[in-house]
């Protein structure tokens, strides 16, 4: 690592920044139901998840040589500028969906950003359409159905088997079991997602001539990717945890256990059988399923609908930001600097916006306060009575029409319009 150019250094730092957003965006997948049923205290839950993410990053011996799993033809000349622009698209979309409290897939954001940037820079030929359908679209459609059905059936079964027992006596057992399932999800997340960032960093280093082609990631790459995702996880995407843990349905300990076990089983079984289902969609589907499985359980479909809209928008939105970023970044040094400046400005703007209605470990399960504020403020947003932070509705009503209409400039304008 003697001569790392400034551009490569920027790509690496941006990759780590993406890894960090990936961590806090996906904390909810493993820990939302664990926190909402009270199986673990919020801080303890994110701390455990962070440690397991870190362990997971070091665990796998399978090296992420391709960043995109065959979606992008990486031999077609993917420049560091393109990777950089793709990462910018992924980070900004992750931050926007976090602000809205919506669990969207970080992997889809990364793929979307890279696909958009590649199309803008190299052309459509460098994208393998089959792989996009098989590895992104089909798994995303199937995941919530499979995990949802599994969680619903498991919830019914567990309520039936335990119907004659004292609820207080069993809830302790359910919570313990739930922690086990959540731990597995965290570990699998660290292994999968940290490796994606390692792949991006390694590819950038190879593109910059620092590493020989087909090299394994150096130790410092593995360590920094693991630490970045663990720090992100520890920070906790509390907005998304609140949506998943409280916003979709009220989760009792048996439901939390059934949902989390369904998520862990589906994630591990599917990836083992060579048809990996999207983690975010699996976890969200499991939560909906456990809501349907309990007698008297209520699923807030308006929240679910907003979530599904965000899933559909993730690939194109990150792609458009990535494409515009690539066009700008290819103009040379000033272009890269401009994209970097826009990324920083956009991130700061989103952070500042989030401070207006902070959600953290102290109020993550506290939905009453939000509900009280709902009728007056949420009415114009024509959204349901779900307990969600108010900025969520403001943001998503702006985002959704933009994406549906498919106008190119509207979505990437998001970060700047929020300034």
């Amino acid at each position: 690592m003697e001569h790392i150019t400034l551009l490569i250094a920027i790509v690496i730092v941006t990759a780590l920044a993406f890894d960090f957003t990936n961590g806090f965006h996906d904390t909810a997948n493993a820990m939302a139901t664990t926190i909402s049923t009270g199986a673990m205290k919020p801080k303890a839950a994110v701390a455990m998840s962070a440690v397991l993410n870190l362990v997971g990053a070091f665990l796998s011996v399978e090296v992420a040589r391709t960043i995109s799993g065959g979606i992008i033809d990486e031999s077609a000349g993917v420049q560091p500028e393109v990777i950089f622009a793709g990462l910018v698209g992924a980070i900004l979309w992750n931050l926007l969906t976090w602000l809205a409290g919506l669990p969207s897939s970080s992997s889809h954001a990364l793929f979307g950003g890279l696909i958009g940037a590649t199309i803008a820079s190299v052309g459509l030929d460098a994208i393998h359409g089959d792989a996009v359908v098989m590895k992104v679209i089909v798994p995303a459609l199937v995941a919530p159905l499979v995990a949802g059905f599994a969680a619903m059936a498991a919830t019914r079964l567990t309520y039936r088997v335990a119907r004659n027992t004292d609820e207080r006596a069993t809830s302790k057992g359910y919570r313990a079991g739930q922690i086990g399932s959540a731990a597995l999800v965290s570990l699998a997340h660290g292994t999968n997602d940290a490796q994606k960032t390692m792949g991006v960093m390694t590819l950038a280093l190879i593109a910059g001539g620092v590493l020989a082609p087909d090299s394994d990631p150096p130790m410092w790459v593995i360590a920094s990717a693991g630490i970045a995702i663990a720090l992100g996880t520890y920070l906790g995407g509390w907005r998304i945890i609140r949506t998943l843990g409280k916003g979709i349905t009220d989760i009792q300990p048996p439901q939390g256990f059934a949902a989390q076990t369904s998520a862990a089983t589906t994630i591990l079984a599917s990836s083992h059988m060579g048809f990996a289902l999207s983690t975010t969609q699996v976890c969200s589907g499991a939560v909906m399923g456990c809501g349907l499985g309990r007698k008297g359980g209520v699923v807030h479909w308006s929240t679910a609908r907003r979530m599904v809209v965000a899933w559909g928008l993730t690939l194109p939105a990150a792609g458009i930001i990535g494409a515009l970023g690539a066009l700008l970044a290819e103009q040379g040094t000033w272009g890269v600097s401009a994209v970097l400046a826009l990324l920083i400005a956009g991130s700061i703007a989103i952070y500042v916006r989030s401070r207006k209605e902070p959600v953290d470990h102290s109020n993550v399960n506290d939905v009453n306060g939000v509900n009280d504020a709902q009728p007056a403020e949420a009415a114009p947003a024509e959204s349901g009575p779900e307990p969600a932070p108010v900025p969520l509705q403001v943001t998503i009503t702006r985002t959704a029409p933009a994406g549906r209409a498919g106008e190119e400039p509207s979505v990437p304008d998001q970060p700047t319009t929020t300034v």
């Binding site: 499979v146 359910y174 570990l187 059934a258 079984a269 048809f275």
Partner: protein
């Protein structure tokens, strides 16, 4: 476009069945443990209580084995 429907079907089936099996096993384990206090108070025969406790532990052991297999899948 070649979508591997058979693999997809297998994934769905295995995921659903495994989830139901694991949740079912764990619930049986919890229920036998939770009924312990009640059974003793009701003066049920000791042999039955002991058997159900062993059964409960067996359920938990199977679940622990499943978690171990999960870690194995992640790591290798």
């Amino acid at each position: 476009m070649n979508i591997e429907w058979s693999v997809l079907g297998e994934v769905a089936l295995v995921s659903v069945l495994l989830t139901i099996a694991l949740v079912g096993l764990f619930t049986v384990g919890i229920v036998t443990g939770a009924n312990q206090g009640g059974a003793a108070a009701a003066g049920r025969p000791r042999l039955g209580a002991a058997l159900s406790r062993v059964g409960g532990y067996a359920c938990f052991a199977l679940c622990a084995a499943a978690v171990g297999y999960g870690i194995y899948l992640i790591a290798f």
